[in-house]
């Protein structure tokens, strides 16, 4: 099992370097926006990490969904590991999005949150689902009943992903529209688009590395748990 661990670490190192480069490019290379049209023109650079974080959080929720579905269909340990990893990473990337977004909102809108905006609120709910799953896993006894409950919450949470993803197209209140897809409204500068794409590719490498390493650790921890139970049983018998 040495090979997957080395591959995971390679992905994490490459992804981390890419994320740092993308952040630096976002700060120093990305063009300025028109200061007369924006209240906080420098704060717009938050998008160079905020948008890749948001995309990656959707990848994490997809992992959570696949794991939850797999647990229901096959009750396999590998599916449960995906639930564990998907919820951890959903919380990590979701947390990054729901903290950096309001910081930008505070600078640009003057208020951190808009309770009438569909995307903001469904995304916050999605992150709350990941938080609930992580806390439930840590606080509840690990048996099939608990796993069934957690997997059902994971399946419910995934329903929010398409709603959140298309919220800016179908029901746009305040959150800016989709930035990468070419449209009449976007008119995105090619440099900005290139930096965003490099951020997304880097974050995906980081995400893949995290998934591989996390799954590997959860698998080894479960093996160790089984070995310890065997030892306890052997001690009881003797």
């Amino acid at each position: 099992m040495r090979h997957p661990r080395s591959m995971a670490i390679a992905c994490i190192v490459m992804g981390s370097i890419g994320v740092i480069i993308s952040a630096l490019l976002g700060i120093f290379l990305a063009p300025d926006v028109n200061p007369s049209q924006w209240r906080a023109p420098e704060a717009y650079r938050i998008i160079f990490l905020h948008v890749p974080f948001a995309w990656t959080s959707f990848l994490a929720f997809i992992v959570l969904f696949i794991g939850s579905l797999g647990w229901y269909l096959r009750r396999s340990e590998s599916s449960w590991r995906l639930v564990q990893t998907g919820s951890d990473l959903g919380l990590l990337f979701g947390f990054g999005v729901i903290t950096s977004g309001p910081i930008w909102g505070m600078a640009e809108w003057g208020v951190p949150w808009d309770w009438a905006d569909l995307r903001l609120n469904t995304f916050a709910l999605l992150t709350a689902v990941a938080l609930f799953i992580v806390m439930a896993r840590r606080s509840q006894f690990d048996d099939d009943t608990t796993r069934d409950t957690i997997a059902s919450v994971g399946l419910f949470g995934f329903m929010l992903v398409p709603i959140t993803a298309v919220a800016t197209t179908l029901y746009q209140k305040r959150h800016p529209g989709i930035v990468i897809v070419e449209s009449e409204n976007s008119g995105l500068d090619p440099v900005i688009r290139t930096i965003l794409l490099s951020g997304f590719i880097s974050m995906t490498f980081l995400f893949v590395g995290f998934v591989m390493l996390s799954n590997h650790l959860y698998a080894e921890e479960a093996d160790l748990e089984r070995e310890l139970k065997k030892l306890d049983l052997a001690e009881e018998v003797s």
């Binding site: 994490i12 981390s16 994320v19 740092i20 952040a23 700060i27 200061p35 209240r39 906080a40 023109p41 420098e42 704060a43 717009y44 650079r45 938050i46 990490l49 905020h50 974080f53 951890d88 990590l92 947390f95 990054g96 903290t99 950096s100 910081i103 930008w104 505070m106 600078a107 640009e108 980081l206 995290f210 390493l213 996390s214 650790l217 080894e220 921890e221 160790l224 070995e227 310890l228 030892l231």
Partner: protein, 48 residues
């Protein structure tokens, strides 16, 4: 400062959260190695 402090705060939180998660994985990795080593020690029968 046209949002420069907001930018610094947001970047610190996002990169910081990635670092915290990475450190958590490393600490789990280390404690797992220690636990595996002590389990092997318990399982190994004493020399006769």
């Amino acid at each position: 400062m046209s949002g420069i402090y907001h930018l610094a705060l947001a970047y610190s939180i996002m990169i910081g959260s990635l670092l915290v998660y990475g450190r958590w994985l490393i600490s789990r990795h280390r404690s797992l190695d220690k636990a595996v080593a002590s389990t092997i020690e318990v399982q190994t029968p004493p020399p006769r």
